[in-house]
Symmetry: C2
Subunit: 160 residues, 2 copies
Amino acid sequence: MKLSTKGRYAVTAMMDLAIHDTDGPVTLSDISNCQGISLSYLEQLFAKLRQAGLVDGVRGPGGGYRLGKPPQLISVADIIMAVDESIDSTRCKGNLDCNKGERCLTHHLWNDLSDQLYDFLNEITLSEFIKNPEVRKISQRQDTTASRIANMFPPRSIAS
Amino acid sequence: MKLSTKGRYAVTAMMDLAIHDTDGPVTLSDISNCQGISLSYLEQLFAKLRQAGLVDGVRGPGGGYRLGKPPQLISVADIIMAVDESIDSTRCKGNLDCNKGERCLTHHLWNDLSDQLYDFLNEITLSEFIKNPEVRKISQRQDTTASRIANMFPPRSIAS
DNA sequence: TAATTCCTTACTAATTTACTAGGGATTATA
DNA sequence: TATAATCCCTAGTAAATTAGTAAGGAATTA
């Protein structure tokens, strides 16, 4: 389990998708503008998210990305694992003769802690962020990605 | 909240100190050997841990580091915060006009999540690792840093 | 005094993060 | 069909962080 800005980018981007999932695909350029990350870097992150089955790409005008699964099946841990390659906690691989060949006690403890952290983040799914009524309120108050997409099309084409 | 190998080094090192706290100071060279980290890098990490008041240095032969507070007052979050400078989650600082000047919704959500993560790691203290009976067993089964330190002194000086 | 340890600084190597550039593939719309 | 918008892919590079090397000083024990 590792947690860096890379992981944060992925999580916030996925939050964006989750919140606007019912309003059609979200474009990377929207996320890029909103979060101040370069478009191409986002594309690289989303390549990993796509490989993990967490998002689906929709090409062409009006396209973008949408969630690859129902939001209640996508945990924060899933997202972080997809983009933040985990750290190897086994540095003393028997060779170092650390503590008479036994694996370092602290490594054992670290793994326990790391597992707990994983379980914690695995219980938090994207659906939490949608359900929260306060979140909804904030979401509606803002000029969201969804509404900006909507504005791209003339009223008639939406009504039809 | 950020979590990298750097933070793991610090946490496992502090676990080591906590487990052997009653047996006198733990030297960095012991930790260096056990965990396969360079001595000088450990020294840099411990400089930060010392600044945060999490450890006390004891100079001279037989010296080393010991906990700066009782283990039940040192949380995993404390340790990580001391060495892993936290990430700034506010990239769109109003300038980007993200969502009509409002702070990005996802940043708000991220901060909530980050706070939850902090609270989680802040409730896990070093005393957990000492109390755990299985941990004690493993600790005693191994040639621990403590016993290696003990072996440095002749039996009589321990008895006295 | 000599050895052992912490303590500090400066520099460098390795790795990861983030970005730039260029192009291709797909698709909605005109 | 043409065009534009989007995803998609690769290669390279800049910036930041992580990790290590080197050198020495300060405190303390024996």
